[in-house]
Subunit: 365 residues, 2 copies
DNA sequence: AATCGATGTGAGTCCGGTCTCAATCCTAGG
DNA sequence: CCTAGGATTGAGACCGGACTCACATCGATT
């Protein structure tokens, strides 16, 4: 309909050069605008390009500049708003510096992650941002490192891998939050997370996720500080889909030794925990207190609104991208600073005192 | 530390060939495993490749196969779980067929979208999935079409552009939902959306989003069917950030002619609407009823749980990717079917009868 | 008028693969 | 023993830009 039925092969510099009656080299210079080109030639070339609908082939360009202007991002699950927001921080920053993002989802599976990293390397991305599924098995990340390609970690650190990592200090915030619960009178504090482990949790056992280890360590310290010890039976890992989380929650809340407070390791978990609590006919916070990681908008809408641990997720993405791009573009050192990326406990309404605390403290006094 | 300090330039077929003492062509054949290669050569080449840590340069490969095994995805906002989930559907499907995804965010801005499409075309992606910010200004999409690159639309249709589009039938579900509200006694039904318009809404005015037009049309029809007419003053577009949505909500709920029900055009809007309602001290559904588009998990946790319009978002992404890949790989026709992609009204607790309905109907009888 | 440095310009190489084509090997049929 | 035809193999073109290098131009110097 329109005009030149542009089927098949697309226009190349050579075509433009021919049309503009100049050499390929000159056309390339005018188009790529580098080198010296006379006004006359430039105009003719640009006009020809316009007329032919020339579009540079970035693949070819990348091939001999060695730069693809693309960064690879490997996350566990974009469906999770946590990563959605982080990704947003990354893409926004990347775009600002002229980079595009290839996104790969791993479903938190190591095999998928190894694969993803490989693919991105093969595609010659300029750098990688990875939220490692495992903080322990990091051979593939070491390879990236050794290959000399810029790499930056998000959310979780990788053991024995000296790479810039953008994550909040989980130990501290976990400690604070636990302290807060303890001060409210809680002793039976549960922790629910998705990390997978072989058997049930044993204090200090190595975990795949540095994040979770740090959080557990924070909890332990908080108890210790008070001369108490953390109720290990309430640490529940391997929480998978909604059903399993609900099952775990019901289990935590039953019996004479039930948990009086639950710390949900992320928003998805909290969702199911709250659902299970509601279904059990219990109420928050009078029967159970709850703290969840990540501050999503909906947490203000539940009754009561949830007390959460807010992480600067967008900023983390932004910082990671900024650092990566800095690495890609040269100077190693310079400002390693940036804002500190601190998590914060946002006290809303889901934490109260456990039912029998009054009785206990009276009895104690 | 490890061994061969693989700095700089990476290993190429030529290097492998030299190491294996065969010609570049033979090495390439063995590696790319095409053509005829003797067992002996194959083994030597593979061993050499292994030893050298050879990794094919996908860029180079793409350049002369003309295939990048990459599809471009352009969405308005990955931070929005709607797109997060759709993207998940796309990436899962793509991965299954060996494709990677380059994701670009447009913030729902047309300029950014035009740019995004251009960039992806320049990167020679094999195909595009776009959730067009505007259903009207679609010149850039027509260009994609004309360039011969496979294109598929997600979520919204584009006017006068004959491209496979994966979206639910908004007219029908909107009609049904409105009917449901009307039957509950509502007459003052508001509709809040982010679409931008020049001035205030006027019946039938052209909108950027086909989705929204369809929804409004559905509402109109539902009213018409009952011999009523839609309260145009309650259609509020241009709802931007949280603040503006809350302002709009407060405005809708004040005065003698306040809205008794609100339809929120997406989850983000609903979030602020609910917040504004709660802040006003009103309650759902006794004071105001609410329906929102998209069924997010948290909608089950509010008090009351929200009545929502569930869309098969993941499936839409999956269908779009499947169709795109089919287009990329050949056969035009075949099964244009796939599951129907229908939206469904999920009745939970946020719709009730308006306060004065009793009075009114009594007065009426 | 001869010289010099700053442009302009075209031919051709290179990036790292894929692929064509002609030459060489090998083996079975005659 | 000779030969046709398939299996192997190497040289080199090619994809579409970026970039090197040698050469041509030209106004300005002295």
């Amino acid at each position: 309909m329109s005009s030149e039925g542009s089927r098949r092969r697309d226009v190349t510099v050579a075509d433009v050069a021919k049309a503009a009656q100049v050499s390929k080299a000159q056309a390339a210079r005018a188009l790529g605008n580098y080198g010296a080109v006379s006004e006359d030639v430039r105009e003719r070339v640009l006009a020809a390009a316009e007329g032919l609908g020339y579009r540079p082939n970035e693949l070819a360009r990348s091939m001999n500049t060695g730069k693809s202007n693309t960064i690879g991002v490997v996350v566990g699950d974009i469906e999770n708003p946590h990563f959605g927001l982080a990704t947003r921080g990354i893409t926004d920053t990347a775009k600002k510096s002229g980079y595009n993002v290839i996104l790969i989802n791993t479903d938190e599976e190591r095999a998928a992650e190894v694969d993803a990293v490989q693919v991105l390397l093969d595609k010659r991305v300029d750098g990688l941002i990875v939220a490692p599924a495992s903080s322990v098995e990091t051979a593939h990340l070491k390879e990236v490192r050794d290959s000399g390609r810029p790499l930056v970690l998000l959310d979780r650190a990788a053991e024995g891998l000296d790479v810039e990592t953008f994550a909040v200090d989980m130990g501290t915030i976990s400690y604070e939050s636990t302290k807060y619960l303890i001060e409210a009178g809680h002793r039976r504090i549960a922790f629910v997370s998705t990390v997978r482990t072989e058997g049930p949790y044993v204090a200090g056992m190595p975990l795949d996720s540095s994040q979770i280890s740090d959080r557990l360590e924070g909890i332990r310290r908080a108890f210790e500080d008070e001369g108490l010890s953390q109720p290990m039976d309430l640490v529940r890992l391997n929480a998978g889909d909604a059903d399993s989380i609900m099952r775990i929650t019901r289990d935590l809340l039953k019996g004479p030794d039930a948990a009086t407070a639950i710390i949900a390791s992320d928003g998805l978990i909290a969702l199911s925990v709250v659902e299970a609590i509601q279904e059990s006919g219990l109420s928050i916070p009078s029967d159970v207190s709850l703290i969840m990681y990540d501050d999503f908008a909906w947490t203000r809408l539940t009754t009561p609104p949830l007390t959460v641990i807010a992480q600067p997720v967008y900023d983390m993405g932004m910082a990671a991208a900024t650092a990566l791009i800095r690495q890609i573009e040269g100077r190693k050192s310079s400002s390693p600073a940036g804002p500190p990326l601190e998590a914060r406990l946002v006290r809303r309404g889901s934490v109260g005192s456990p039912k029998d605390v009054g009785v206990l403290s009276q009895a104690g006094s």
